[in-house]
């Protein structure tokens, strides 16, 4: 059953998340072929057994490279003359280089908060994992600061629900609140409601890292 009502309170059901996630991955690939692909990682069998019709999993994109433009950082530092779109972080590309970090992002559904959650981990080019301070230091100053200052989310370390290892995540406790604001005024009856949810959600959380959605993708959900 498509729970159209659910999205009006800023939440998303588990089934609708799965549907939206797969469409998200397809559209990303279609409109964004320079960047690494999102993959749906199917975990339906992780209990060693899965009754038919049950689906479980998450979205994953690996090895997203962020190049640091050190000189920009030195010139502008943290002062306010740095515009929002002149970010010290260049947009992710497939080029390699020593001066940058590698990120993995997973979008995992939280049954408790009924929203998607962004999990991530980062490492330097020599494979050394980055800790929370190093990650925060290297976020694009403009949007990341706004997001965390507004107390809508914060970075915390938590065990990845499927991989059993410590990952970082953007805490989901505020997600339904800001999703409610974003989706307010949107037509609740449109067909691709779930898709719209996920794309809107990503357009916000992606900002923390300077990950932008291609315009065509945003346009595709109205």
């Amino acid at each position: 059953m498509v729970s159209i009502k659910a999205t009006c309170d800023g939440s998303l059901s588990s089934i609708n998340f799965q549907i939206a996630a797969i469409t998200f991955a397809e559209k990303w690939k279609k409109f964004n072929s320079d960047l690494p692909e999102w993959l749906w990682i199917d975990c339906s069998n992780r209990l060693g057994f899965a009754a038919h019709g049950v689906r479980d999993g998450y979205l994953s994109v690996q090895n997203v490279f962020f190049q640091i433009q050190r000189s920009l950082k030195e010139d502008y530092g943290e002062c306010s003359s740095l515009n929002d779109y002149e970010e010290p972080f260049d947009i992710a590309t497939l080029t390699t280089g020593d001066d940058g970090y590698w990120y993995d992002f997973h979008v995992v559904y939280s049954s408790s908060y009924s929203v998607p959650v962004l999990y991530f981990r980062a490492r330097s080019s020599d494979g050394q994992p980055l800790n929370k301070d190093e990650i925060e230091k290297n976020l694009p100053t403009g949007s990341a600061k706004v997001l965390t200052d507004s107390k809508w989310t914060f970075i915390t370390q938590e065990e990845h629900p499927y991989l059993n290892r410590p990952w970082y995540m953007l805490h989901p406790c505020g997600t339904s609140e800001w999703m409610k604001l974003i989706l307010a005024g949107e037509n609740p009856a449109i067909e691709n409601r779930n898709e719209q949810y996920l794309i809107s959600w990503f357009s916000v959380v992606g900002q923390v890292f300077g990950l932008k959605l291609p315009f065509e993708m945003l346009k595709s959900v109205g």
């Binding site: 209990l47 057994f49 899965a50 908060y113 938590e158 410590p166």
Partner: protein, 341 residues
């Protein structure tokens, strides 16, 4: 709260696991090596909180350096954010008394365990779980976030010290009373199959659907075993599945059992089980092993108890939940031989 229920909660809070803790060989620098520490660990507590008690036993034997405590059971590093009682129920099927653990103060396995900097980390983890539980129950964590600082400190202290009276006093302000407020004090409706008196329906009409915070630690068994003491031990946490899914509790006069609740959050094993009536499900679960068309629950433990599956879920939640308002369930389940077509 009914008097009977107060006793049950006290019983749970008084629960403790006798531990025999050995310092890992690699960290012993004295001869003779220190004797193991014998310690009683509260079920509702967390292992790193034992650090102040343990240090005196081992500090002389340790090599110089910074101490970061962590525990291990037969080679498996223990997740410190899981309550001690849950770890014991899950990992020690044929219960070992005392439970033999190894303590380390060096070489923290940061690739497996979340970092722990002592009491603050444990407190933060507890409050975070409490916020999550509040969100599951109310759709908002505001009441936990708006707790006054003194209240938060006192609440945490009451958990650390096992002080149930203080805990109840402060936690009641959070208004996280889940279910059973309507049930407690009333005689349990007799579970007659499908027949509901008018009175019952009216009484429960006020109760709407609730979401109950549940954390399920599941081991899906391949090889069968008869004796729990023969249960193989775990080399890795990858053998255990962590299911953090709320139970949707929809009363409507139906008799909702513990088994119903477990089935409702394991669609992988019980695909048709949301909002199923109790009658059919309980009968099916009295399984003749030869049938093997259904999953078989080999072990279900909550707070060290193996409750009868027919107990009302509301009673289980109200009496056996942890101070973080989560019901932690350890489950060993054997999958059916044939997957449903």
């Amino acid at each position: 709260m009914e008097r009977g229920e107060k006793e049950a909660q006290q019983y749970v809070w008084d629960g403790a696991i006798p531990l025999q803790i050995h310092l890992h060989d690699s960290e012993v620098t004295t001869l003779p090596p220190p004797s193991p520490a014998l310690i009683l660990a509260p079920r509702i507590g967390y292992l790193p909180l034992l650090s102040p008690q343990l240090k005196p036993f081992f500090s002389e034997a340790l090599p110089p350096g910074v101490d970061t405590i962590w525990f291990e059971y037969k080679g498996l590093p223990l997740k410190w954010y899981i309550p001690t009682g849950v770890l014991f129920d899950l990992l020690c099927a044929g219960p070992e008394r005392p439970w033999n653990l190894t303590v380390h103060f060096r070489g923290y396995p940061g690739n497996i365990l979340l970092p722990c900097d002592g009491e603050d980390s444990v407190k933060w983890s507890y409050i975070n779980s409490l916020k999550e539980a509040a969100y599951v129950i109310h759709g908002s964590s505001k009441n936990v976030m708006n707790m006054s600082h003194p209240d938060q400190v006192e609440l945490w202290r009451s958990v650390m010290n096992g002080n149930l009276e203080t805990y109840n006093r402060i936690s009641s302000k959070l208004k996280l009373g889940i279910i059973g407020d309507e049930f407690s004090g009333k005689p349990n409706p007799s579970p007659s199959k499908g027949q509901h008196s008018v009175d019952e329906t009216e009484a429960t009409a006020a109760v709407k659907a609730s979401r109950i915070p549940v954390r399920l630690y599941l081991w899906a068994i391949n090889e069968d075993f008869n004796d729990l003491e023969e249960a193989p031990h775990f080399d890795s946490w990858d053998q255990i599945s962590y299911i953090n899914r709320p139970v949707e509790f929809n009363t409507e006069g139906k008799y909702f059992t513990l088994l119903d609740a477990v089935k409702s959050i394991l669609p992988e094993f019980y695909p048709d089980s949301s909002n199923r009536t109790n009658a059919e499900s309980t009968d099916e679960q009295r399984i003749e092993p030869e049938k093997e068309r259904h999953p078989v629950v080999k072990l279900l433990r909550i707070q060290g108890i193996e409750p009868k599956m027919e107990i009302p879920f509301s009673w289980v939640v109200n009496n056996l939940m942890n101070p973080d308002y989560f019901l932690h369930i350890c489950l060993y389940i054997k999958a059916p031989k044939t997957i449903g077509a």
